[in-house]
Amino acid sequence: MEPLLQVRDLKVDFKLRTNTLHAVRGMSFEVREGETLCIVGESGCGKSMTSLALMDLLPRAATRSVGAMRFGEVDLTDRRAVRRVRGNEMAMIFQEPMTALNPAFPIGDQMTEAYIHHTGATGSAARARAVEMLTEVGIASPEKRLGQYPHQLSGGLRQRVMIAMALMTSPKLLIADEPTTALDVTIQAQILRLLRDLQHRLGIAIVFITHDLGLVSRIADRIVVMYAGARVEEGSAAEIFGSPRHPYTQALIDCIPQPGKSERGAPLGTIPGVVPSLVGDVRGCAFRSRCPVAQPVCADAVPLRAEGGHLWACIHGAKKDETERAPA
């Protein structure tokens, strides 16, 4: 079956005064209908720029180049076409529920305006739809909420409103950029459960972006691990957690706090070393300076290895039956 979303060789650059910052360096991935794809990576590795590039929402300073980018039948490199699907078949929610809603307008107005724009519905039909969606995301007394302003809601409620707003037009794809990062742990768990629930009930595909691999295990069907603007490993949740192939993925897994397992008082795991600068070109494997199993050949082009749908970009992990693909 054709994937719902297909991205090939996406690049996002920022021109600096004397140099260029390559925030995204040739990302490729696919999302199938109704599945949850998680994109995981440390802060600054280009997760947000990747998702904004899909929606044509990059900051003005950014330039984008892309091999191919399709959403169903729609060519996402065509700006006019993007405007038709954005906020309609393809919706997005963001990290900061505190600032993502406009403080000057009531919730109801913000929820209905895009629905009216996309569907041509009447105001009262749109409000009925908003009530339905607020109920769907578990908000009590939805009629009352429609008249309230964002500052009257808690962070968790606002994120629910954001989700309800994104679902107004029954999108096929929801892109969620760290939707729970700004929330405390209990609320975070509730929102995750809600997203998983909605997906089962409504059959939407979700691209869930996070820096927290611990969260990913709870919702992901498939996982893309990102490092320094590029995909370093991709596979099903079972493959990534069961047999991670890339040393970076392994390091991320080791950082997940395990209740009962970690010694008392031991510091939370972090990967030693620093993320390489994204300015200028990177030769060879970007993870080299932090990799415990690096070899001299890692300074050359690194192969992208594949085992079924499980992909990784590392010199290690080769087995007999595996096919070698073009270098990443």
């Binding site: 929606m55 929402l57 405007r83 038709r84 699907v85 954005r86 906020g87 309609n88 919706a91 997005m92 963001f94 900061e96 600032t99 993502a100 809603l101 406009n102 403080p103 000057a104 307008f105 305006e113 895009a114 724009h117 996309h118 302003y149 500052h151 954001m162 707003m165």
Partner: protein, 305 residues
């Protein structure tokens, strides 16, 4: 909301009260009040009569109370120069000034909001620079020069509008255009800065992510928030306009409050001056209160605090 407004109102009353003390002090505390009232070369007898009629020998607090009582009844005394009740003078002229101020402000907003929005949306480009230039010209050109140009074109050459007087609304167009253009730059800068700030906000990204057309994103989501500080400036400018359009009022022989205050200073006409000061201060206080109300409407977050 009611608590917020009650607080603002209480504050306004307090400020008005303080201003009234200052206005009172303007005349009474300048040392020799009777001398100031009588004018130069008054005899000792004249002075005594003045002290008697105005009750200047009473304690200040009593004088203040009786003066305030008069003022609250609308009695500001008699003008030394015009020899008529100050309240009549002001009543005659304030209408012209207020009309001029409101028309100027409307024109200023009509120029500066579109220019500011355009400049912000295309910030850093030649459109931005052009908009800034157009608005800055308003301040750089001396207002009398612009006034003369407008009179030459619209009144003398094309005979479309009257050049002087205050008989109909058409008489106000040229002075209001001059004054409005003159006060455009601060509004334009504020709109531009507010829009640039608003456009970089997360809620604007949300609005775009929802697929709203660009004009809705800019004119609804960003502009609404960018206008909050503009309301404050409107207040200040309206106060300044009511108090200080002396030059324009003189050029266009538009007999308003600014012109009256100008004359009162020249003739040392203290009762008139006192009344004008008091009136302008109260106008200020009322405008500030109004701007608080408008701001509460524009920015719902203010309503709770």
């Amino acid at each position: 909301m009611p608590i917020y407004l009650a607080k603002r109102f209480g504050l306004a009353v307090l400020v008005a009260f303080c201003v009234s003390i200052l206005a009172f002090a303007l005349l009474r505390l300048q040392g020799n009040a009777a001398g100031a009232l009588a004018g130069e070369g008054a005899s000792a007898e004249d002075l005594a009569i003045i002290v008697e009629t105005y009750g200047l020998d009473r304690p200040l607090i009593v004088q203040y109370a009786s003066w305030l009582g008069d003022v609250l009844r609308g009695d500001f005394g008699t003008s030394y120069f015009f020899k008529s009740p100050v309240s009549d003078l002001i009543f005659d002229k304030i209408g012209n000034t207020v009309i001029l101020a409101i028309m100027s402000l409307t024109i200023a907003l009509a120029i500066s909001i579109p220019l500011g929005v355009l400049a912000a949306v295309f910030s850093g480009s030649w459109i931005d620079r052009l908009c800034s230039l157009v608005s800055l010209l308003g301040q750089a050109l001396p207002s009398f020069f612009l006034a003369l140009c407008l009179v030459m074109l619209f009144a003398i050459k094309w005979r479309m509008l009257p050049a002087s007087g205050a008989d109909s609304w058409r008489h106000f167009i040229l002075p209001a255009a001059t004054l409005g253009y003159y006060i455009t730059p601060p509004f334009m800068r504020l709109v531009r800065a507010g829009m640039i700030d608003a456009l970089s906000n997360d809620y604007v990204r949300t609005a775009r992510a929802k697929g709203l057309p660009a004009h809705r994103v800019i004119l609804k989501h960003a502009l609404r928030n960018a206008l909050v500080p503009v309301v404050g400036l409107v207040t200040v400018q309206l106060g300044l306009l009511i108090g200080g359009s002396v030059v324009i009022e003189s050029i266009f022989a538009l007999d308003g409050l600014g012109y009256l205050a100008y004359q009162a200073i020249g003739y040392r006409d203290f009762p008139v001056l006192q009344a004008v000061v008091l009136l302008l201060s109260v106008v200020y206080v009322v405008l500030t209160l109004l701007s608080d109300i408008v701001n509460a409407w524009l920015d719902p977050r203010l309503r709770v605090s």
